[in-house]
């Protein structure tokens, strides 16, 4: 299987062309082909959430998505979250303030999930946040601080 196809991906507002085999996942396209390594690979099989990105505004596991499937859609990664002048997104700022991470490896996925969780209207209570953030594993155990950060960011965003 050496056939390569050229695809166009719109990532963080910029359209990029890349030539990949059809079997390349969106995650590997981001990390290996475009060197956008903010999106992390924790399992490559849809079980940890580290690879969470937004596709057309919804959270998606990029390890379970083929790059080709994302053609024509708007992809947002953690690199595209801060403002044009580098101002942190309220969720990012809250993660820093509440120390919602340690090693930082699950963090981009947590942040992308958190932004979506708030937008979906699932940050109404701590229990609801816990439930809707349970697809993102954190082995460092930052969960209580992630909940605090999302609770605070939700206030700022509303």
């Amino acid at each position: 299987m050496t056939n390569r196809t050229t695809i166009q991906l719109e990532i963080n507002g910029q359209t990029q062309a890349l030539e990949v085999e059809p079997r390349v996942t969106l995650l590997d396209a981001l990390r290996d082909h475009l060197q956008l390594t903010g999106t992390k690979k924790g399992c490559d099989q849809g079980q940890c959430g580290a690879c969470t990105v937004h596709v057309d505004g919804e959270r998606v596991l990029s390890c379970l998505t083929l790059a080709a499937q994302a053609e024509g859609r708007k992809i947002t990664t953690v690199e595209g979250l801060s403002g044009p002048g580098g101002e942190l997104h309220p969720v990012q700022a809250a993660f820093l303030e509440h120390d919602a991470f340690q090693c930082g490896y699950c963090t981009p996925g947590q942040i992308m999930s958190a932004v979506a969780c708030i937008r979906e209207g699932h940050a109404g209570s701590d229990d609801e946040i816990r439930e809707y953030m349970s697809g993102n594993l954190c082995r460092c155990g930052a969960y209580p601080h992630i909940v605090e950060a999302i609770r605070e960011a939700a206030k700022v965003m509303s």
Binding site: M1, T2, E21, R23, V24, D28, D32, Q35, T37, G38, T39, K40, K41, G42, C43, D44, Q45, Q47, C48, A50, T77, V78, E79, L81, S82, L88, Q92, A93, F95, L96, E97, D99, F101, Q102, C103, G104, Y105, C106, T107, P108, I111, D126, D127, I129, R130, E131, M133, S134, G135, N136, L137, C138, R139, C140, G141, A142, Y143, P144, H145, V147
Partner: protein
Amino acid sequence: MTIVETRSKRGDASDGALGGRLSRVDGPAKITGEATYGLEYHPEGMVYAVLVQSTIASGRVRSIDATAAEAAPGVLLVMTPENALPIKSATDWLETPPSEAPYEPLAREVTFSGQHVAAVIAGTFEQATAAAALLKITYDETKAITSLDDPEAGIGIPIDQMTVEWGDAEAALATAPVRIEGEYRTPREYNVPIEPHGLIAEWKGDTLTVWEPSQWIDGMARTYAEWFGLPFENVRLVSPYIGGGFGSKALPLEHSAVAINAARMLGRPVKLAVTRPQTFTAFGGRPATRQTIALGATREGKLLSIVHRSANETSMKDIFVEPLGSVTSLMYETPNLSSRQNVVRVNTVKPGALRAPGENPSAFGIECAIDELAYKVGIDPLEIRLLNYAEQDPHAKKPWSTRRLREAYAAGAEAFGWSKRHPQPRSMREGNQLIGYGVAAGTYPVRRTPGEALVRILSDGTVEVASSSIDMGQGTYTILAQTAAEAIGVPVDAVRVKLGDSALPRAPVAGGSQLANLMTGAVHKAALAARDELIGLAINDPNSPFRNLQANTLVVEGGQIASPRDAGSGIAIAEVMQRIGRDRIEALRDTLPENLRNEKDHFRNFTTITTMRSPTEGDYSLHSWCVHFVEVRVDEDFGTVRVARMVSALDSGRLYNPKLAESQWKGGIIMGIGQALLEEGTIDSRHGRVMNNNLGDYLVPTNSDIPDLKVISVGIPDTNASVLGGKAVGELAIVGVAPAIANAVFHATGKRIRDMPITLEKLI
């Protein structure tokens, strides 16, 4: 090499001082995706390696047919023991001299299922993965011993160094008015850092660069140098960020040898990422353990004897000891004790360190047993702990440097509301939820290895700190910035910390919860030396603005130098540096004792653990302490257990940054909740395979498993333990969590579960 600039925009200036709640200085890089982890570099011409693992647990590889794989698109090399370039054996971390035999990271003899037997290297990750599936491997299979309980496993090998005995424990037990006995078991558990292991290796002539998450840059670089016959200086290991390790990223592993060798054979940079399922056998987690504990006591609950027999599984080729008597012989005062341990050979990967190796399962045993004794004699589980409180180290017979465990019991009980506990098991409920309160203590030793650091004051008044130590989330970047800022007298955001590169001054292993204490000590020393030189120059240099003051000394504060008599009118460090014409003032300092200040011992100190001092070397016994109070809710019909709330009080001495220390404590507690309720490597007893080798089946805690956690610091500075008064943090808090939960489950249900995890089928 990574440079992290401190940013303390939020919060007030006092946050930057040592002991302040400064936000993580490496935080902005991590939340924006800028932080580059080991597997995220992209040297020109990089190709991809994929490992192939054995499908039998015991036997030998008869043949590997690589015809199809080699013909697959993009394949550059199928590596087997037959065609791999030879690698030398290396000195190990205990400084055991290497064997003459070559080191073979790909196995011919298979001793566990999931052992690496081949590797495929191809132009892309997808090509390598596809070709790896085409290898045809045949084996001569022999019968495997799959677990500690395998009838063929036997009782194992006694480890005499683990024996601790005083008094006559067996006799005292036989005559004790009250006796209890139980067997406590923990299963195979895995570290599961969310960043999987792996590396990128690149050769340029006879220099090697490796980008790889590492808890011990200098130790691993030494092994790589010896494997490939290079001088140490020719190996550069870069590891600026580590996506979690919990003990598993400290030692060199087979897959690293494979990738470095492949890069050498192909003359191209090679990236090898261990897949998530492969991580379950590419290195070992905590071995399965069992302990028998017999306690003899008076009718009032005062201990008369502890008899402890234990065993952990190890691999067929290596001996790994999980010290199961470490807490048993430390926590309580008893006139008689006997503790012995065996290791049992099983067809498994060599077990490894997982957060608090030894203390963790050891505390599970003794902290459940003491709880059982409390119920047997009819006193409160907290009271029995105070009744048997060890006023000095019962084993080493030395005074504690600090032991704020009594304060921890008091503070924790108060905050938890322990007095509301009804003493009878199964007596508290809400609807069909049985409510249980449980308590257990924990401890972790203070380990000490000398450190080294470079501190530089630059002409613009900023400060650089450099060390090959690492930050995997413990907060090294942050607390070292705080240490240097305070020692020199500059704002914390004027400090840049560089870590994670073997080209920087040496550091010992980030393990045993020792790094923060030893590195703050080294940075403090180097920073004071740099500041003293700055003051000396400011007093004596002919061009210094302070030249005419005739001062004996000057003060440095907030980045300004001033006369002590006239502290208000300072001059910025940058201006003084420019006036005296210096572009830098630099101090490289180590905390080695005089007798180790020679090249050989210096190298040994940072690349082996032979200079690490035990917690009882010296006049005191040095340990951190903690206690956990837990409320569980058990569904009476379904047997499901939830931790409803927890309060933990901990004595880690002085905290350099409470915000980050609290995070680490909570992380340990959460891992303990997982251990108590979820985590268990399940092994197929026919093929010896880890059946749940993925994150969907090996369950670690998720956000919804974790309630609010309250942590209370009861520590005071302990300068016998470390220069700046801190004790162990990272590994402490997991110790005691699982027994506290097991004790709470007993209180809720009246069922004593002695083997972890506490899953619903054990309760219904």
